[in-house]
């Protein structure tokens, strides 16, 4: 059987007046049913754009310039607009980093949620409302009846995030792309959401891409992890392999920056320097200006290697 999601050589570029921004540059990944893939990496490295590319939501002046995206064996490039609409919000859904991309500020929550249900299911308004209410409770929203009648601005930041999660899950999609969905949630509510996510994957075989900078969530939730830097996946593998034995210097730097591994009040260990601006990327390894292991030959882009059967790496001088 084909994988739930398979991406091969995806390139999504923005053609701006200042130059070409290679937001996603040769990304390949694979996700099986019921599995959870953590996608981490530098701010601006192309994580959200990878998600938008799968959802067919890349806007001008951006464009998928090459690559293939297959969902359950269907090449997305072959779909027409009605087929896209059936796919989005039903079989594939995305929880956006900014919940206001999901929510319309001038419509009440009930209007928006019921619409999301009825667009893909032939059910009465009453039944749709029942589903919405149940879904809101699952993401920890109390008094769902009254909250359904409210407008987005009457919610706190984390409550808006949870409403967006509820909408994304209400039709039990096969594939969910969750983009930083719990950035404003305290650990107890986050635990509730992660519990629901695990349950969905286990019971319905939903595949999940979890984009986050929170490495402890990746550690606790995901099976596999991909680390992105400047539009590329620089390292991937099982969570245990990558987090316990990072081979790419950027992954190592990330792990060292976690506040819990530093002395309170003292400066945190940080990766020196700045990510190169994406229109300035040349052929070499994009990390080399910041990399403690960089050598002369890093001016030529390192090829993707497979240190073990489940692992990929883009680095000429990896950590031992």
């Amino acid at each position: 059987m084909s994988a739930l999601l398979e991406i091969e050589g995806l390139r999504t570029h923005f053609f701006t007046r200042a130059g070409v921004v290679k937001a996603v540059d040769d990304v390949s990944l694979r996700l099986e049913r019921g599995r959870i893939l953590g996608l981490v990496g530098e701010s601006g490295s192309g994580k959200s754009m990878t998600g938008y590319s799968i959802m067919g939501l890349v806007d001008e002046p951006g464009r998928i310039v090459s690559g293939r995206i297959e969902v359950a064996g269907t090449d997305l490039a072959t779909l027409d607009e009605p087929a896209w609409r059936r796919l989005r919000g039903n079989r594939v859904s995305m929880i956006f980093q900014d919940p206001m991309m999901t929510l319309n500020p001038v419509l009440r929550i009930d209007t928006q949620m019921v619409e999301a249900v009825r667009a893909h299911n032939n059910v009465s308004r009453r039944e749709a409302l029942d589903r919405c209410r149940a879904q809101l409770s699952r993401v920890g929203i109390a008094s769902p009846d009254e909250r359904l009648r409210a407008y987005p601005h009457q919610f706190s930041g984390g409550m808006r995030q949870r409403v967006a999660i509820a909408i994304a899950l209400v039709n039990h999609p096969d594939l969910v792309i969750a983009d930083e969905p719990t950035t404003a949630l305290d650990v107890t509510i986050q635990g509730q959401i992660l519990f629901e996510m695990q349950k969905l994957c286990r019971e319905s075989g939903t595949g999940l891409i979890w984009i986050t900078h929170d490495l402890s969530v990746v550690a606790g939730l995901a099976d596999d992890v991909c680390v992105m830097y400047a539009g590329r996946i620089v390292e991937s593998g099982t969570v245990d392999e990558v987090l316990d034995h990072p081979m790419h210097p950027y992954t190592r730097g990330l792990l060292d920056s976690i506040p819990g591994r530093n002395v309170p009040g003292r400066p945190l260990s940080q990766i020196p320097g700045m990510a190169p601006s994406p229109q300035d990327l040349d052929q070499g390894c994009a990390f080399r200006v910041r990399c403690p292991r960089a050598r002369e030959d890093c001016r030529v882009a390192p090829a993707t290697t497979r240190p073990t059967s489940q692992r990929t790496l883009r680095c000429g001088h990896p950590l031992p």
């Binding site: 109390a142 909250r147 939730l221 819990g260």
Partner: protein, 334 residues
């Protein structure tokens, strides 16, 4: 110079209620004698807070418990329903006149939702550089250089200055918001989930910047975050809220070593760790209480593993349980 014993910011019994404009039916019912209008949210209830110069007070609590509302009242974006706010010992109202503009500028807020707080039609150079020019902190001729410098401090390449907000990633936008707040050289910063959208390396860079500004310029912070690792790293003292009320406050080391309130204990017990793999996450036990219909007595009782009869009837008061350490729980009475 102000006397050092005076807090920079002080809140005295500050509350905020939002009442939803009730629907027509409810309004008629109300006129016909039904009780209070429906849907009043007690977002913040009688909160006292004090932040000294150079101090970092961490604010944690459940999603929807009133942290942003409190932060917005401190940053004078929102008016409290009742209570008093003091800046350097004098009521906020005394700073309304024109001559006190620089004092008003001294409090800045970094918003939880960076996108909604950035004008989509303005370029980054204007978003960050406008206020400093208007308020005479830099000349118009020096503006771009000043903006470039500020952007560099939060890890953004100055070449992006001519771009609009929608052309950025989430974490880049959030750093534009941070740069904007820093650009007017505040004395006090309300950081509302300011580093939540940043990968840990850039987060480290921004936190290091905050720590440095505090050491060099005496900047003080109200630091709202759900990340207990970050809170522990930057704060001197921590305030824990639950459903509109402060339930515990203590110096940072004391709070992590001896959490007193059952909600705080639940938080600290669950601090996530990269070493924990394939966790079995658990749903919240008990009912999640709603700010629209807060439970009687202690707001935490529907979820509290140690709740007893009195908790359902009587709200516990905040009481000192150790020097500088206050908690609101009936268990401390026995």
């Amino acid at each position: 110079m102000i006397t050092s014993s005076l807090p920079l910011v002080e809140l005295r019994s500050v509350s905020k209620r939002f009442s939803r404009p009730a629907g027509v039916a409810a309004r008629i019912a109300h006129r016909l004698g039904a009780s209070a209008p429906q849907g009043t949210v007690h977002a913040v209830e009688a909160v006292d807070l004090r932040v000294d110069q150079s101090e970092v007070v961490g604010l944690v609590g459940e999603s929807g418990c009133g942290k942003s509302t409190l932060g917005r009242m401190v940053a004078r974006i929102l008016e409290p329903t009742s209570g008093e706010r003091l800046w350097k010992g004098r009521p906020y109202e005394e700073y309304e006149h024109e001559a006190a503009r620089s004092e008003r500028l001294a409090i800045q807020m970094i918003f939880q939702d960076p996108y909604a707080s950035l004008n989509p039609r303005m370029r980054v150079a204007d978003i960050v550089g406008e206020a400093p020019v208007v308020h005479g902190l830099v000349s118009r001729a020096q503006r771009d250089e000043y903006v470039a410098d500020t952007l560099g401090r939060v890890g953004l390449d100055p070449s992006i200055m001519r771009r609009f907000p929608h052309q950025f990633s989430g974490g880049q936008r959030s750093r534009i918001g941070i740069a904007r707040a820093l650009a007017v050289r505040p004395r006090f910063l309300v950081c509302d989930e300011a580093v939540a959208a940043l990968d840990v390396s850039i987060q480290a860079q921004v936190l290091n910047l905050f720590i440095r500004l505090r050491e060099e310029l005496g900047l003080a912070y109200l630091f709202i975050s759900h990340d207990l690792g970050v809170i522990r790293h930057v704060s001197d003292a921590v305030v824990v809220m639950y459903l509109g009320r402060v339930v515990e406050s203590a110096p940072v080391a004391e709070l992590y070593a001896h959490p007193n309130h059952p909600y705080t204990k639940a938080l600290i017990l669950e601090v996530p760790d990269v070493a924990a793999r394939r966790r079995r996450y658990t749903p919240i036990r008990g009912e999640i209480p709603s700010p629209l219909a807060p439970p009687t007595g202690c707001h935490f009782h529907p979820r509290c593993p140690r709740a007893f009869e009195r908790c359902r009837q009587e709200a516990p008061a905040l009481r000192e349980v150790a020097p500088g350490h206050a908690s609101a729980c009936h268990l401390n009475d026995s």
